[in-house]
């Protein structure tokens, strides 16, 4: 603080006015790229080797090493088995907890792996042979596949994608568009379950009725 009152304010104002005319520090991003040091390791990318091949071998080591388990992989191992750890982003929290359990040494039933019991993809090849491997006939192919397996196993869809060269997303999209195609094996009790879910069974109905009469939850009427 100076002796003259207000001089400090004036000096500050002079400084800001000087800065007003100085060169600016902003990097105008789309036109000017940021100067990223060569050691920067924030790039999200997979590396290619000198032959232009993807270096990633889906060995899952990175997914296992990731401390917060944010890495998850889809892919195919060297023996042609499909080992994709499926899971929507919404189930991420659940998977974390399962993984915590698994680490603690307990066995966890993992529904994520249920889709991937071994599927013999030979019949798929036969079906594709009859349709000349033509992705234009995708719906007949899928219907034939479902007719054979009873449902559409992921392995079969992957095989169709691999052989016909169609994107998996397109096949999955087609399959999920049509109501008569399904991804789970049909069960006998499925329909019954669906109905009973919609309508409470006799016992529950009576219990709630009793509760409403006596004013106590679960009270015996």
């Amino acid at each position: 603080m100076s002796l003259v009152p207000g001089l400090g304010l004036v000096r500050g104002m002079a400084l800001t006015l000087r800065r007003f005319f100085e060169p600016k520090a902003t990097i105008r991003y789309p036109e000017v790229q940021a100067d990223i040091p060569p050691k920067f390791r924030g790039r999200l990318q997979l590396l290619y080797d000198e032959y232009g091949t993807l270096k990633c071998e889906t060995c899952f080591q990175c997914a296992q090493a990731c401390p917060i388990e944010c890495i998850d992989m889809g892919g195919m191992d060297t023996k042609g088995r499909f080992h994709v750890h499926w899971g929507a982003a919404e189930t991420y929290g659940e998977r974390r907890e399962e993984s915590a359990l698994r680490r603690s040494g307990r066995t966890v039933p993992d529904p994520a792996y249920d889709h991937f019991e071994g599927v013999d993809v030979g019949p798929v090849d036969d079906i594709l042979e009859t349709f000349d491997h033509d992705p234009a006939h995708l719906l007949p192919i899928l219907e034939a596949t479902q007719a054979h397996y009873g449902y559409l196993p992921v392995g079969a869809l992957k095989r169709i994608s691999q052989v016909t060269g169609t994107w998996y997303a397109q096949i999955y999209g087609t399959a999920s568009f049509y109501g008569h195609l399904r991804f789970e094996p049909p069960t006998v009790t499925a329909q019954a379950t669906a109905i009973s879910e919609r309508r409470p069974d006799e016992a529950a109905f009576l219990a709630s009725l009793g509760a409403s009469l006596t004013g106590r939850p679960g009270g015996d009427a």
Binding site: P5, G6, L9, G12, R19, P37, K39, P67, R103
Partner: protein, 409 residues
């Protein structure tokens, strides 16, 4: 251990029914349960003409996600109750389930303003557990990068402090300073904010040309630039009048509040872990511990600005004395220290940053306690704020310089 909410229990604020029943009441700062402690009962009882004001966790100037319940008499703050936990990640628990190398990336985001110091104290504790000697070059690089980070943190402090007092400009100027330092640390460590650079037994990479050229470029004009930025505030009557005599604390109270770092030094006590309990290569370096006797917000601000100059001195010495040696000690890939306990403390930009680690002989720490200065300093806000105005709440809080990532762990 019943889990159903009976009539004798009170609904929590998270209960959606609360929101449905009484929409307005849900936003009252008074907790929807009877007071659990003496202090809570005292605080949540309103006197005549008093009212509660809920500040945060989404207030523009709570430095993150701090929530403070203020008890006001007009504009005067009678009492306040900080409510923490909005950023709690359970880092200590995560560290117990990570192996020793992974701990470094876990503790990194604690004090996101000065990440290197969060890495430093766990790394030092683990080195004690493992009885590792860190190569001297690695120590020099640690000190060099750490002091750079300290300057970045203090520069940002200046901006935040001014912003909480209503000045718009210093925050951007200080971000320019910080950005230069952070860029050069990115050239050294590979990241701008969460560096993940220190390793048990050394550092991740040696000094490189990119870093050195940026550092030399910056060092040549750093002093002048920072001095020039400071004239905006140091001589400003409005700023000085608002900060002087605000939140005064004396040495004895500060010690009993377990304060450390610049906040303690601003009261006149020259406690600095770098000198009080020397670690790394600090005994070999020549620098002063600036102290001030006033103990108010202005003293804390000026002290930090003084520390920037000392840090520049240390960086200069490090560059001149940098020895040639490997940057990593020879260590196995999988670390299994023998069972034991180790405590390591360092002087961060906010105060003493410490780690207490217990090893049980496996590759994961059995218990890792992280002592964060922001957490300790934040609890004295209540002490400093009594009978000040609302306008000064954030100013006092900013002058203590807490980082909510560290407070909430």
């Amino acid at each position: 251990m019943t889990t159903t909410a009976g009539p004798h229990q009170h609904a929590s604020a998270d209960d959606p029914r609360v929101m449905l029943d009484d929409q307005i009441g849900a936003f009252e700062p008074i907790p929807p349960y009877p007071p659990r402690t003496e202090r809570e009962a005292e605080f949540y009882t309103l006197g005549d003409g008093e009212m509660f004001l809920n500040m945060g966790p989404q207030h523009p100037s709570t430095h993150g996600v701090l929530r403070v319940v203020l008890k006001l008499d007009g504009e005067k703050v009678v009492d306040l109750d900080p409510v923490l936990g909005y950023l709690h990640r359970g880092v200590e628990k995560l560290c117990e389930n990570a192996d020793y190398h992974q701990v470094i990336s876990q503790v990194d985001p604690l004090e996101y303003i000065s990440s290197l110091f969060c890495e430093w104290s766990p790394v030092m504790a683990f080195e004690k557990l493992l009885d590792v000697e860190v190569p001297r070059r690695a120590e020099y690089i640690r000190v060099l990068s750490g002091e750079l980070n300290r300057i970045a943190s203090h520069a940002l402090f200046m901006g935040w402090f001014a912003l909480d007092l209503g000045g718009l400009t210093p925050i951007l100027w200080s971000f320019i300073e910080r950005d230069e330092i952070v860029e050069m640390l990115a050239a050294l460590t590979g990241q701008r904010m969460l560096f993940n650079y220190f390793r048990i037994g050394g550092v991740n990479g040696d000094l490189n040309h990119d870093f050195m050229s940026r550092l030399g470029d910056w060092m040549s004009r750093a002093t002048g630039q920072i001095e020039s930025n400071l004239t905006l505030l140091n001589e400003n009557e409005i700023f000085v009048r608002r900060a002087r005599g605000l939140g005064v604390i004396d040495t004895e109270t500060a010690l009993s509040m377990c304060m450390s770092g610049p906040n303690l030094r601003a009261t006149g006590s020259p406690f600095d872990v770098r000198r009080a309990h020397p670690y790394s290569i600090y005994p070999e370096l020549d620098f002063d511990i600036p102290t001030r006797s006033e103990g108010d917000s202005l003293a804390r601000y000026l002290l930090r600005m003084e520390e920037i100059k000392q840090s520049l001195r240390i960086i200069d010495q490090c560059l001149h004395q940098m020895p040639d040696s490997p940057i990593m000690a020879k260590l196995p890939r999988l670390l299994r220290p023998r069972p034991g306990r180790a405590y390591a403390a360092i002087e961060g930009p906010r105060g003493q940053y410490a780690t207490y680690a217990i090893s049980d002989g496996t590759d994961q720490p059995f218990r890792m306690r992280i002592h964060d200065p922001s957490f300790i300093h934040l609890q004295s806000v209540g002490l400093l704020m009594k009978n000040n105005l609302i306008a000064d709440t954030m100013a006092v809080m900013a002058s203590l310089d807490p980082v909510m990532g560290g407070v909430d762990k």
